[in-house]
Assembly symmetry: C2
Homo-oligomer: 497 residues x 2
Amino acid sequence: MSPHRIGVTEVVLRDGHQSLLATRMATEDMVAACEDIDQAGYWSVECWGGATFDACIRYLNEDPWERLRRFRALLPNSKLQMLLRGQNLLGYRHYEDHVVDKFVEKSADNGMDIFRVFDALNDPRNMARAMAAVRRTGKHAQGTICYTISPLHTVEGYVKLAGQLLDMGAESLCLKDMAALLQPQPAYDIIRGIKERYGDVHIAVHCHSTSGVTMVALMKAIEAGADSVDTSISSLSLGPGHNPTESLVEMLEGTGYDTGLDMDRLIQIRDHFARIRPKYEAFESSVIVDPDILRTQIPGGMLSNLESQLKAQGAGDKVREVMDEVPEVKAAAGHPPLVTPTSQIVGTQAVFNVLMGPYKRLTGEFADLMLGYYGETIGPRDPEVQEIARAQAKKDPITVRPADLLEPEWDRLVGEAAKLRGVNGSDEDVLTYALFPTVAPGFFETRAAGPKSVAKTESQLAAEREAKARGVALTGPVKYKVSLGPGRTHTVQVEPA
Amino acid sequence: MSPHRIGVTEVVLRDGHQSLLATRMATEDMVAACEDIDQAGYWSVECWGGATFDACIRYLNEDPWERLRRFRALLPNSKLQMLLRGQNLLGYRHYEDHVVDKFVEKSADNGMDIFRVFDALNDPRNMARAMAAVRRTGKHAQGTICYTISPLHTVEGYVKLAGQLLDMGAESLCLKDMAALLQPQPAYDIIRGIKERYGDVHIAVHCHSTSGVTMVALMKAIEAGADSVDTSISSLSLGPGHNPTESLVEMLEGTGYDTGLDMDRLIQIRDHFARIRPKYEAFESSVIVDPDILRTQIPGGMLSNLESQLKAQGAGDKVREVMDEVPEVKAAAGHPPLVTPTSQIVGTQAVFNVLMGPYKRLTGEFADLMLGYYGETIGPRDPEVQEIARAQAKKDPITVRPADLLEPEWDRLVGEAAKLRGVNGSDEDVLTYALFPTVAPGFFETRAAGPKSVAKTESQLAAEREAKARGVALTGPVKYKVSLGPGRTHTVQVEPA
């Protein structure tokens, strides 16, 4: 019997460096790996999303659309995949439907194949338009279930949501565990439930590895019938990132499943990113493993945000109280998954509650969440808190799809973009402006200067290695004030000779 | 139905810091965690073995027997566990049987409960005496199967070896994967095979995590009937170490298995070692994950040894050739598992073969391995290479148990030890001398001065943190000789201003 083929989505070009190197990797540092990636036998190659788009224009002076076109040229045999925040596209607000259509159309034009569409609240209405737009382009629309844990989230609930996504025309499904909360048994039960209810739909599983448990969740998901899984090449894996691609290959040996991946290619890819990683050391996360997120259900990135918010308020000793408050706020808001942007909204409100008293002051975003402006949550929202939100925000709660309240905005965006210096008149530029209106103008002005890497150069790395080998602490010139006695002070410059 | 209880052996006090911090952790840095460890609900606490014994007297000026007695006092409710290299005890040669008896007896006297007995060649004759000695003390004798991969190692072979260990009186069994080679399917098949053949014998599974696959192997082993597994608290886990204890707890949630561990205690233990770990940063391994060991079957530690041997010979470019030679040498030697000491013996011979030509020169240890002086290997040894070994070592091959050729040596050891300065006349001191005859004399001389930690102090760490926060490379005053010209040399002291 030939083994059952499990597809693999390589995420190193998007979520891998996003999770481990703060999304700072320049296209130039990916190019040399692309031929091996293209030939390794992946099911798809995730290479584009909100954070990489943002980082391109904010830090790297790279045009994200140009990056996409380069991937298309460098990966001719691969299915390119992106992560799309439903009605939010790659930004932080809802966009009017025609902007959604336009974005999907231009992404497809520039080479995107598979659109993984999700919504932070799992509200299908926030995904519907983007999914329909993808289908119109003839590309692959993958419907996404954001996984979280709460008293209201059940296997049956996830299975039902899968059905809603299929009804909406999803060509495949993704169980997305962005916070490393997925344990083996629920992974098995959810995948099994979906397969039993809906037959042979393709299901992908996306996990982060922070909790140290999700490689096992992938195994159980595969046993339950998952068709593809997301991994990142080992040299950019683990910690807040993903399970290592090569380990997945080895995991399945002898099991009756296999990935069909070419291990020699994987080793080449691994070696490439092992060489690149040290250049971005300054952006490395220090987390190795944190099983505690399963108990607190506060994702690691959210916890460090809370800590710095509290320290900035001189209230660093309140971390414990805020951690206890987070589940309360989450429950009051109807148990949204904690993922961008809900993790920031819930976390900041928890800080406000601890510092100023429960719901004495709401953030504008939390009021919007309570009033339905982000969409529907799985549970009912606390009516008292909702009333506070209504009074403070001076807005009524809504039950319609939030984007239904938006006026057409494409023509306005075109007009505003046209006035910016350095804009090239393309729809792509209008979309860049629409998604990041405060960052895009600066980018357009400097775009002509070309990419500006934030990585260390090879010669800097070599100097650091040499300095280390020689036991010298300094790697560059440092100025010191040297006092030899009263009135005999010199400023000297010291560097390794 | 109440969940099926899975025992957990916490290895942080032995293999955890051995694998991640070069065995350098001082007893003082473990003491504060012991109450939580004792109360957490572990099946056993591994806390003693060859490398920790060695490090105590070589680096830390600690009496390893005193460390054992402190553990006994600090962990009154726990089963203390050690790793014992069969007839080698904690040393690198075979000891005569009465020394074996004496060592086991004194270990039991000082508080040891569970003796995990193994042999690098899986030769039961090298484990028999130690197992019998443990049984005479009334303590727990655990028979060990060293796991490796070769054309001759089969599930059926491991199952048979399990039977030999049980016949020898093993009260439980351990499947020991010291090189992170255990994949999920063989883990399942071996455990299942043993349970089906021999009924309800307790089986422990020990894995390292280097390959990124073994957490899944633990899951499959548990599904196949494993009774206990080894893990290390998360703050000293992963990389060349072990799977994280808390992750194991979370892995089993909802599966019908549970560990019974107290998560609040685990968090305390985690926080303790998270505070301690930075003090030993200088000894940290840099490996995070290395799935390639499953392909090369060369353990990570062995590879770095080979690389430094080759560099020392000015032959750093020969690494690939040596890696290709290792499997050849391993096959010629009858496919021994690659673990201390066979990994060093096979590796060094591979280096010799590449640099000087195949078997032009043998190491004494490799000749001994070829001639049976380490015991029986699973496969036949290459007769031509054996003939070279015979000619060069001027010794005939043996088929008897190696220790059968040894003369009684206890009285001689007592006599030699008695002449050393600082010896206290105890059998424990004689055993320390017997195990490490070159290191022990120096230790006895300095023992009275008490433990000498190699960790950074709290104030050093605080200074480093402060320096880092201020972006200064120097952390303390450094003296420089500054030459401004002929006759104008000053010695200046520089420190962060």
